[in-house]
Amino acid sequence: MRVGLFVTCLVDLMRPSIGFAALKLLEGAGYEVTVPALQTCCGQPGWNSGDREATRALAEMLIAQFEECRYVVVPSGSCAGMIRAHFPEVFANQPAMLAKAQRLVARTYELTEFLTKMAKRPAVSASFKGTVTYHDSCSGLREIGVKAQPRQLLAKVVGLKLVEMEECETCCGFGGTFSIKYGEISSAMAEKKCANIAASGAQAVVLGDLGCMLNIEGRLRRRGDANTQVLHVAEVLAGTTEG
């Protein structure tokens, strides 16, 4: 059964290692994985900016790229949420495309969701020494219900201790273009998130979305915290974190 990995544009550009970690996890779970070569972006930046036409074009491309895959797995709650919660609305007035979009919706999973629900054999056999806290990304949490899945998987990582921070479900302030339109408010929100991470005493914050990752890491370093690691859940589960 072929699983298509939708790497997402941010992983592709900013953190390729997360893509490889996801690949390792999916193969470890017993799946044959393909990475369609012409994939780019799910269209979310256009959609959230009110540009329906631009979104449509990218969404159509994505649908075509993954037509052959039995499942589509995404190491991002935000991009998986875009497909699952918004693609039907993108094609609301185009019955033929809508049907295709709905077939994609039914086959699309966020990575931790897929691993907890569909893995043929235990996907996780990693170890991590230390205490981490988990930041729930908004779209993953509220659009597709990713909450227990990453925690279940992290519990299997040998040596890893999870402590919950205050307000783990509160937005970190990224919000896509919000972060560059309202940089000051966005940074103020990120600062609150960083304060909660620091107060948790964890040595690393683990999360499932690149937007939050860049935002939180950027703010942590700017406020002078050079030590707290910001890790994608895929890397922790695959045991491929640096250091």
Partner: protein
């Protein structure tokens, strides 16, 4: 009220720099309504509450689908019980109607319980300009009237004020020694307000709901001032939006359960007042005249359109309580009557898209509002639809349109995209330097005002690395 929504960015900048406001907002967040709501929902039963939200949304949708019919029944029932029902198309028209009522009844002083619609209409200013003294009697609104400020929250209007600031206001306006503890300050305010309650000629209330079945208005309050306002003066005017109508008392009881839990985490508010017509012969109290002024002020424009769900709103404030942007910048940043997510939908809808360009974008679309909303208004989706309207009407800055256009144009051409991203990744990696942190992001200065931008970890994209790896594997296979 004057619209300042076009200055959102400047106002939020000032709000973030205001240390007193920030301290007050932090206090609001830590002791505030979100925790109380969570507890109330847990006590009610989370699943049951979910079901109740569904019922609430359905009731509001039913009311809105036949809004004209329900308003018609409300009017007939209210008139049958001796009330007068007047309609105003705009806030200004509502003010004129009210001033006319004041003239007819020789009103010199009007006491008010909380009404957001009166803020929309600028009612206090209109009354004062016509020689009628309006006195706010909700404690929060009273404080703000002394301060000369608009509310910053729809149910806790003065939450941006600290106890010390209020003590200063009372000292200056009450001509009494400064008091610093809340019970004594409250008592002092009550003593001052009591004189007004007893001497006012007119009571003005808002209306949380209108019940079509009985022709009643409802206010849901905690301080008891609302009951004084609606029963003591000779004339009572309830001024509210036409969308507040509900078919039956049964519907109201469902929404009441949702409203108080969502707003303050109370199973029920201290007071729930239904007013049905003026004082009848057997009644021991109540006004001689009871008037409803039902105001449109942009509401019917939303009926039947793609923002109609917003009219479900029952004004609980849960969306702003849960909004991380509201909690960072406070209500005044939004620049008009309604702040937070519901305000960011209502303001452009009521005052015009072009007068509030920032508001639909002043949200991360995190969805915390919509999961808290008692009537399931899809607030992030409505904000997005407003963004789409801005694009359709050519109201977005050209640079922003060009950036999105360029991105999607390139992303539609995978080979060009691969080339462009390969260059960008290498460039950004170099900018990141040894620490991998970009201090000033080109084309993204807003980002690096308060943060670094983490540079790409590898000088290559995932797709390039993946392709190289596969080529490597093929080579290995060929060697064997």
């Amino acid at each position: 009220m004057q619209i300042q929504s076009m200055h959102f960015k400047a106002r939020s900048h000032a709000a973030l720099a205001d240390a007193t406001l920030q301290a007050n907002l932090r206090k609001f967040q830590s002791t505030g309504f979100t925790a109380l709501r969570a507890r109330a929902v847990a006590e009610f039963g989370a699943e049951l509450f979910e079901a109740l939200r569904g019922e609430g949304a359905a009731i509001r949708d039913r009311s809105l689908e036949s809004l004209d019919a329900w308003i018609g029944s409300f009017e007939a029932e209210a008139v049958r019980r001796g009330a007068t029902v007047l309609f105003a198309e705009t806030g200004a028209e509502a003010c004129e109607l009210l001033i006319e009522i004041c003239r007819r009844h020789g009103v010199r002083k009007a006491i008010k319980s909380k009404s957001m619609l009166s803020e929309e209409a600028g009612l206090n200013e209109a009354l004062a300009a016509n020689g009628i003294r309006p006195v706010e009697t909700d404690l929060g609104e009273y404080i703000l009237q002394l301060a000369g400020e608009p509310p910053s929250h729809i149910i806790a209007p003065a939450l941006h004020k600290s106890k010390e600031e209020v003590a200063g206001l009372f000292e200056a306006h009450h001509h009494a020694p400064r008091k610093d503890d809340i019970p004594r300050m409250t008592r002092e305010a009550r003593e001052v307000l009591r004189e007004h309650f007893l001497s006012a000629d007119l009571g003005i209330s808002g209306g949380n709901f209108l019940i079509a079945e009985t022709g009643s208005g409802v206010i849901v309050t905690n301080e008891g001032n609302g009951r004084m306002v609606t029963t003591l003066p000779r004339v009572h005017v309830c001024i509210t939006g036409i969308e507040k109508v509900l078919p039956t008392l049964e519907d109201f009881s469902t929404l009441l359960r949702l409203l108080t839990r969502s707003a303050t985490g109370q199973p029920i508010s201290n007071y729930v007042s239904l007013f049905t017509g003026p004082r009848a012969r057997q009644d021991r109290d109540g006004p001689e005249h009871m008037v409803f002024i039902l105001v449109d002020a942009g509401r019917t424009n939303l009926v039947g359109g793609d923002i109609q769900e917003m009219l479900r709103c029952i004004r609980c404030g849960a969306c702003m309580n849960h909004c991380p942007v509201y909690r960072a910048v406070g209500g005044h940043s939004y620049g008009w009557v309604y702040p937070g997510p519901m305000g960011s939908v209502l303001t452009p809808s009521y005052v015009g898209l072009a007068n509030a360009l920032d508001l639909p974008h002043a949200a991360t679309l995190c969805g915390a509002c919509s999961v808290a909303c008692p009537v399931k208004i899809p607030l992030p989706e409505l904000l997005r639809r407003l963004r789409e309207k801005q694009v359709d009407r050519g109201l977005r800055p050209r640079s922003e349109r060009a950036a999105i256009g360029l991105w999607s144009w390139t992303a539609r051409r995978p080979r060009l995209y691969a080339l462009a991203t390969a260059i960008a990744v290498r460039f950004l990696r170099i900018l990141g330097g040894r620490n991998g942190m970009i201090v000033a992001l080109p084309f993204g200065r807003e980002w690096t005002r308060g943060r670094f931008f983490p540079a790409p970890k590898s000088g290559k994209t995932f797709r390039a690395l993946y392709a190289a790896r596969n080529r490597g594997q093929t080579t290995v296979l060929l060697l064997f």
